[in-house]
């Protein structure tokens, strides 16, 4: 799972049926200290995140798994998603006894 900042929303009227009812957010991926990193992506929101919030999201196939109901993996229920916002970050604690070796987070 990776960190990102919510920077906006996307609206699409014509979309695949399993995407209906899902909020699509624009995310700017960041490192864990909040610095922007890489290209902007579109992710579905499962927790009610709003613009400006610091969130974490899951990539790849697991992005659509969190939308499935029950305990079965039903292919026709799977939304076409490659990123889903899984939670809103309240705080991050990084160790600093590492003399700058943690390139990504410090």
């Amino acid at each position: 799972m990776n960190a990102a900042k919510v920077i906006g929303r996307v609206v699409a009227t014509a979309k695949w049926k399993t995407l209906e009812g899902k909020t699509l957010l624009l995310l700017q991926p960041t490192d864990w200290s909040g610095r922007a990193k890489g290209d902007i992506i579109v992710a579905a929101d499962s927790v009610g995140a709003g613009a400006g919030e610091f969130v974490f999201y899951v990539k790849s196939r697991e992005a659509c798994f969190s939308w499935l109901s029950g305990d079965k993996q039903l292919l026709d229920e799977m939304p076409p998603l490659d990123a889903t916002v899984m939670g809103i970050i309240d705080g991050v604690d990084m160790i600093d006894d590492d003399d700058g070796k943690v390139k990504d987070g410090k």
């Binding site: 809103i88 604690d93 160790i95 987070g105």
Partner: protein
């Protein structure tokens, strides 16, 4: 699986139910030869009780993650599934705790 170092933790009140009661750790790929972290820091779910500074085994694959968490449809991919005691590479033993 990768050898990683636990470099931090994250707390979040609003999150998906599949993440409840699990520690969220930040892990960075770890080079056992140089003892330095390198590459991208990601968040992983802990199932073994690892803590900050530990050298751990991180599995980045969804099917086994769902198996370990016993949640068939959880949106979780990255799991800390072991704490490394020592490694042997090129005849060199390294102990990590």
């Amino acid at each position: 699986m990768k050898i990683c170092k636990v470099v931090g933790n994250v707390w979040a009140t609003r999150k998906q139910a599949c993440l409840n009661n699990h520690t969220l750790l930040l892990v960075a790929p770890y080079d056992t030869e140089t003892g330095k972290t390198k590459g991208e820091t990601v968040m992983a779910v802990d199932v073994v009780g690892a803590g900050k500074g530990n050298i751990v085994l991180v599995n980045d694959e969804g099917n086994s993650a769902r198996g370990m968490l016993e949640q068939p449809v959880a949106g979780i991919r990255t799991v800390v599934c072991g704490i490394v005691d020592e490694s042997l590479l090129d005849g060199k033993h390294r102990k990590f705790h």
